[in-house]
Amino acid sequence: MRNGITRREVLIGSAAALGLAACARQPQARRARPQVSVVRAPAYTQQVYDTVRRLVAEHRLEVRGRRVVLKPNLVEYEPGSSINTHPMVVHAGLEAFRALGAQVAIAEGPGHRRSTLDMAEAAGYFEVIPGFEDLFTDLNLDEVSRVRLRRPVSRLTSLYLPHTVLSADLLVSMPKMKTHHWAGATLAMKNLFGVVPGGVYGWPKNVLHWAGIHQSIADLHSLFPRQFAIVDGIVGMDGNGPIQGQPKPVGAIIAGSDPVAVDATCCRMMHIEPGRIEYLTLAGGLERIKAENTQQIGENPDDLSTPFALIKEWQGLRRNRV
């Protein structure tokens, strides 16, 4: 990668960061405990729409007239599997943010498979979300600008990123709750790998692996200061995720404005010790990801927690292991 960076790129990156920071309600005080909602959602039924609408509403996001981008996790052509974020959850998010007066778009850039729209069609997005093709941007093929990383923890100094996410006032990460054979767990933060454009970096986006997977996740997180996360934990995936694992019913949707706190909560629900997920400690620090430093809303996460099977390489992540 070159060393220099143009004034235009700095301006675009700064504008994006300011836009994201200005969005929604007044930012919580830096040291305030982030709020994380855990709600029961036993199945992919019409009830999901009401659940997501209430969940988004309770966070009192001020998004009227703002541009909100929903970023689901699309990985493979396997309808009915637990690989992709369920289209009903994404549609529920779309309707919830529209109800708040936001302009809502959906965008994703898968890491391995190139035909994103075909995959979305196979995953049921065309069927469930009316006008999906008009709402959707393939982030792998979007217009891009280079953005400098201010204090990178990876070897990256800058990244080309799609205008659709750079120009968003609020980026909503909508992952599936899954284990991941390289990262331990893939949740709201790891889901941001999908904003890195394959059209520039390829399929897979191997620059992120060479720069350090955990470090790259932390760096991507730092580039988007105004995020919201809605994790599809109705049926997750355990074992050899994120593709070859087994469906894991959890019956929950987890959400909040701080993806670090949301991911840490999800980890605890998966019986994974968040302090052993390197990208969480890089982005949040050990103190920030402790349960007592998160304000839980709704259900007690322990009531919905269930042990996710871990491949042998990740057995050390198990929470409270002896």
């Binding site: 990668m1 070159r2 052509y77 391995h112 498979r113 190139r114 035909s115 994103t116 729209l117 075909d118 995959m119 069609e121 196979a122 093709e133 393939d138 093929l141 979007d142 217009e143 891009v144 600008s145 280079r146 080309y160 054979h181 059209g199 520039v200 970096y201 390829g202 399929w203 897979p204 191997n206 620059v207 692996h209 060479w210 050899n240 593709i243 070859q244 491949i311 390489e313």
Partner: protein, 292 residues
Amino acid sequence: MRISDIQNVSIEEIQAFQNPDGGWPYQQGSSWTEPTAYALLAQCAGEKAGWDTARAVDWLSGAQRADGGWPPRRSVEQSTWVTALVALLPPAVAGEERHARAVDWLVGQTAMDTTLLFRMRELLLRGKLPEDRACGWCWFPGTAAWVTPTCLATLALRKCYWQRPSAALRERIEGAREFLMARRCADGGWNHGSAISLGFNAGSYPETTGQALLALEGSDPAQLQDSFRLGQRMLGECQSAAGAAWLRLGLAAHEQLPADTPPPARVCRTVADAALIYLARVAEQGYNVFLE
């Protein structure tokens, strides 16, 4: 008109998406090197000799970087895998000198996972050298080798080798073919390039299976029987236009495309998809632009 509205996949339909600057977008918006190179390849394979390619060639020529390679789009300041696509064009299209520099850039690329430094690091960390010594190409410099860029670079260098044989080209082509055989999945096909991950077998994709078969044209058919069978089965299940096109190109290169195969029924999502369907159709009529 949307790309998905394309019905017949003709040169005219592809041309309709050309930007005023001479290049092509993937779907809409700015021009990118990949769809522009595929649109020009389709033109080269077609019979519309009267089509004015000057603007497209100007766009492509203006995008070449000082190091001889091409960036994915003009605003990206890095030469990448798309250089192989431009090198697949006949040298006369962008000019002999530009073409030669593109080939030199390709030959000079080394994936990080085949460098001596990486192998020594693996020896120190894991106590053994990686078994896979074959050398492929990466998507983006400074990263590992993967199937698609290796296939496209192999095809480009083969065309060059037939015109100007050299030991350096031969070595890279043979190394790339070894790489492809080493990365073949247990089912006989290819995915992005990770056949086994943490001890688990991974499945193949139609796109990369077709690409690898095309790049392995001329290989011993006995070694590829499982790949042929899988590719033929994938034809009926494939869910992307590009996948169907690459499978047809790859199977046709080995004369393994069943005669009664219906044309791809999938919707074109990008200009590249449309160009690939066109190129596959022309290949079935006897002219495979990737091999001639």
